[in-house]
């Protein structure tokens, strides 16, 4: 049931526990959540779905296709390129932040540095802007 303020959130995360956690988090805050556990699957689902999500939460370290490549693919896709992408990662590579932001990501969040409250807050902020 789509209520006001409810947005579609797409999460790409290969770790089951974290995936569940974020799903739960966003659902708690009234959003509709779709998940994918790898890049290829994600792109498939994103392309197929009629109503595109309002935001994509993208992990960096993913099987089959790296997060960066997924991001590139999204930004090259006519239908998907306008969806804001939030990089949600635990990897500790400084150049990555610039790299992803340069590649079109809207936000780069290091999971472990951000309390879940921070995560929801920042994503909501982004959504309100969109």
């Amino acid at each position: 049931m789509i209520t006001k303020g409810m947005r579609k959130v797409f999460i790409v995360e290969d770790n089951k526990d974290l995936c569940n956690m974020y799903e739960r988090l966003f659902k708690l805050h009234g959003h509709e959540v779709t998940v994918a556990s790898d890049g290829l699957d994600a792109l498939d689902k994103l392309r197929q779905v009629k109503t595109k999500p309002a935001v994509i939460l993208l992990d960096v370290i993913l099987p089959k296709m790296s997060g960066l490549d997924v991001l590139r693919a999204l930004k090259n896709d006519e239908e998907l390129k306008n969806i804001p992408v939030v990089i949600l990662t635990n990897s500790f590579n400084e150049t990555n932040e610039n790299l992803f932001l340069a590649q079109g990501a809207s936000l780069y969040l290091v999971k472990i540095e951000n309390d879940i409250k921070d995560v929801i807050e920042k994503v909501n902020k982004l959504l309100s802007l969109v």
Binding site: D17, I61, I112, D115, I116
Partner: protein
């Protein structure tokens, strides 16, 4: 000297005395000597003159007359001498002879005279008597016939007048008993014996007295024939001399002529001979030819000469003779035996041409030739030495070359074993030395390795030739840590070769190529590992923490049991702590692996302090503590540092202050100290004892024993990491002061950004 006949008289049977006029003539002789008288145009067959020798009968003190006595004979010479008109002049040469009285008159003297042999003794006796020299002379006069005793009256008179003279007559054969009878034994042994007489008599007498014990040194013998001699051959030589005289005179200018008896005693010497030998004629006549021996020729030489002539042959050769003054002269000599009427050899004649000049030249040539030979030999020696030296040097060179080749081989082997490419090149980029690794790394054939080729290969990335030249010019190393070459990563180093001893001249460069692809991959994989490791650590942590938080935040209403709530709280806290620990570890690891990059940019600490206060206010409020930032009156300049990292440090220090303060305040302040800006964090906390203060900025140390459950979040790494960060910025982090129970002040300084 020409002397004229003054008187003539018969003094004994067949014996005539001739007196020659001496007045006005300078003629000095000693008693006992003789003269040569020459009568010109007297020879019976031709008109040439003849010479004979006669002993002098007169005393040397008689300045008026020179008296000689001779036995008359068939000799033309003597007949003439006996017959020619008074006042006729004859040529007189002399005096000659060494039969003279000794200086020492203490020695008894025995005169043994036979026949005309008395004349020299008469001269001596007359002289001794006149001079009153006390010679003890015994005169033994031996004769067959008393009537022919010459000068008997004079002798008797002299004996009567002088006690020292003893006259003895013996008119028979003179034998040993006769002598012993006439001369006492003592005198026989101690006296000097003078014997003059015909050859047979003289020699016989000599033999006798030797037998009587007279020593050889004590005899003076003259084989004297009275009017010719002192030679043994008498008349035959007379003939000989006359025969050759004309010829000889003609040769006088250039030719040395001498005639000797069979024993080599000189009986004739021509003027040239005399002149050349530098002896006087009387010194030559009667002497043996051997006085001219120079010592130049070997004994064999003379033996051979004698053998030739004594066997009746003519000897021809060159002889080096010695003159009286010790100088030498060379003659080209012909020596031939002279044969008498009965065809037996009676003497030798030597005709010699003076060849000293030529000989000197020859000698010089010989010497020069020898010198030349010596020089040649020396040169040859030197040449040999040089040859040997050369060989030695060549051998050394070969040896050294071999050693060098070995060294070179070893060097090449070791540089070939190097993993990295090694090239030594000269300033013109000519490769002097390289190893195999170069070609291997670059993936080109060994023989194509040249600087041009290598430079071409790396063209896109770096201009190697230009770089090398700059390197040489500036005498600086050039380092390319990472060059992408195809699928490889290369590290390139160019280093100039500077000859310190040669005024820092650069003679070339060394190029090192290192394939760091693997290392890079390793690094990358380490990076990846790091990323993955940190990721793997963080993921479950995030899940733990996130879920715990969610439970507390969003499912609070579902949790009725306060204990469950508390347990969730504990999980959350522990989770936080674990996250912090993991973060610290990861950060430290990164820092230690030098992976952390700092970006130093100017920023205002003022703003940073405000931010931190805002972020940590909640924490402070929870504990009822005041947290504030006291800005200085004058706004300080910006600092040059990495803002994010400095923020971490400030949060760390402020958080610690909050954690370790139970009541009171935490105040952040700023202070300008020289070129640094000091950030101070002052708390009113529990403080740190001096002992523990020293442990503060080390790894894993936590000052304070007990970790209060709800307060402390420190891992012990925070301060250490902060220290690393501050020091990396060029600042200093310290604990300014800390008093247990009162509080602590921590501070760190940062460099001011240039305006």
């Amino acid at each position: 000297m020409k002397l004229a006949i003054a008187e003539r008289k018969e003094i004994a049977t067949g014996t005539i005395e001739v007196a020659f006029n001496l007045s006005g003539k300078e003629f000095h002789f000693q008693a006992g000597q003789y003269v040569w008288i020459t009568l010109q145009r007297l020879f019976y067959n031709d008109e040439h003159g003849q010479s004979r020798c006669f002993s002098i009968a007169s005393s040397p003190n008689d300045k008026k007359f020179l008296r000689i006595a001779f036995r008359v004979s068939q000799s033309g010479f003597k007949r003439t001498l006996g017959e020619i008109a008074l006042g006729s002049e004859v040529e007189v040469e002399g005096p000659f002879g060494d039969m003279v009285l000794p200086d020492d008159h203490s020695l008894p003297i025995v005169f043994v005279a036979g026949g005309i042999g008395i004349t020299p003794f008469l001269s001596m006796l007359r002289f001794a008597a006149e001079e009153k020299i006390p010679y003890n002379i015994t005169l033994l006069y031996a004769n067959r016939n008393p009537e022919s005793v010459v000068y008997l009256k004079e002798l008797e008179e002299l004996a009567r007048q002088n006690a020292n003279f003893i006259l003895r007559n013996h008119f028979d054969l003179l034998d040993a008993p006769a002598i012993q009878k006439n001369i006492n034994e003592g005198t026989i042994k101690t006296a000097l014996w003078y014997i003059v007489g015909p050859p047979a008599m003289a020699t016989e007498t000599e033999k006798i007295i030797y037998k009587l014990g007279v020593s050889r040194g004590r005899t003076r013998l003259t084989e004297f024939n009275g009017y010719s001699a002192p030679v043994a051959t008498g008349e035959k030589i007379e003939t000989l001399a006359g025969l050759s005289e004309a010829v000889l005179r003609a040769l006088d200018k250039n030719v040395l002529v001498s005639i000797t008896d069979l024993r080599g005693t000189i009986i004739y010497a021509n003027d040239k001979f005399v002149e050349t030998s530098k002896y006087s004629r009387e010194e030559l006549i009667g002497r043996n030819h051997r006085i001219l021996k120079s010592g130049f020729h070997r004994v064999l030489f003379y033996q051979e000469l004698w053998h030739t002539i004594s066997t009746g042959h003519v000897w021809r050769g060159e002889i080096k003779n010695r003159a009286k003054d010790g100088s030498f002269y060379w003659v080209d000599a012909n020596i031939a035996p002279i044969f008498g009427k009965e065809n037996e050899a009676i003497g030798y004649i030597a005709i010699r041409f003076l060849i000293t000049e030529r000989k000197k030249l020859e000698e010089k040539l010989e010497e020069d030739s020898r010198e030349l030979k010596d020089t040649k030999a020396a040169i040859l020696n030197v040449a040999e030495d040089l040859e040997r030296e050369k060989e030695s040097v060549e051998r050394k060179v070969v040896e050294r070359t071999r050693e060098l080749k070995e060294e070179q081989a070893r060097l090449i082997a070791s540089i070939n074993s190097l993993k990295f490419g090694f090239i030594v090149a000269d300033p013109a980029h000519r490769i002097l030395l390289k190893n195999q690794a170069v070609a291997k790394i670059l993936g080109i054939p060994e023989e194509s390795v040249t600087m041009v080729k290598i430079s071409g290969i790396l063209e896109g990335t770096v201009n190697l030739l230009e770089r090398s030249e700059r390197c040489i010019a500036e005498k600086q190393n050039f380092d390319l840590p990472e060059v992408l070459f195809g699928s490889k990563f290369l590290k390139i180093l160019i280093s100039p070769i500077v000859m310190i001893r040669d005024h820092n001249e650069v003679i070339g460069y060394v190029l090192l190529l290192e394939d760091i692809t693997e290392a890079k991959i390793l690094e990358r994989s380490r990076d990846e590992f790091f990323s993955i490791a940190s990721h793997e650590l963080r993921t479950p942590l995030t899940a733990i923490q996130g879920n715990a938080s969610m439970l507390l935040d969003f499912y609070a209403d579902k949790i009725k049991d306060p204990e469950v709530k508390q347990m969730l709280g504990d999980i959350s806290t522990a989770g936080h702590r674990l996250i912090k620990i993991v973060n610290d570890f990861l950060e430290l690891s990164r820092f230690e692996q030098k992976r952390m990059k700092f970006e130093a940019k100017p920023f205002a600490v003022h703003d940073l302090a405000d931010e931190v206060v805002k972020e940590l206010k909640g924490l402070a409020d929870k504990k009822g503590l005041e947290l504030r930032f006291d800005p200085p009156a004058v706004s300080p300049p910006n600092v040059l540092a990495d803002r994010d990292k400095i923020k971490e440090v400030l949060i760390n220090l402020t958080g610690n202050a909050i954690n370790y303060t139970k009541t009171g305040s935490i105040v952040i302040g700023l202070e300008l100290v020289g070129k640094m800006l000091k950030v101070k964090i002052k708390d009113t906390g529990i403080g740190i004892s001096p002992v523990n203060q020293g442990l503060l900025f080390r790894k894993f140390q936590q000052a304070g024993d007990v970790l209060a459950r709800d307060v402390t979040q420190g891992t012990g790494l925070g301060l250490y990491i902060s220290k690393l960060i501050i020091e990396a910025m060029g600042g200093v982090i310290t604990i300014d002061e800390s008093i247990p129970g009162k509080g602590s002040t921590f501070s760190f300084s940062l460099p001011i950004a240039a305006a």
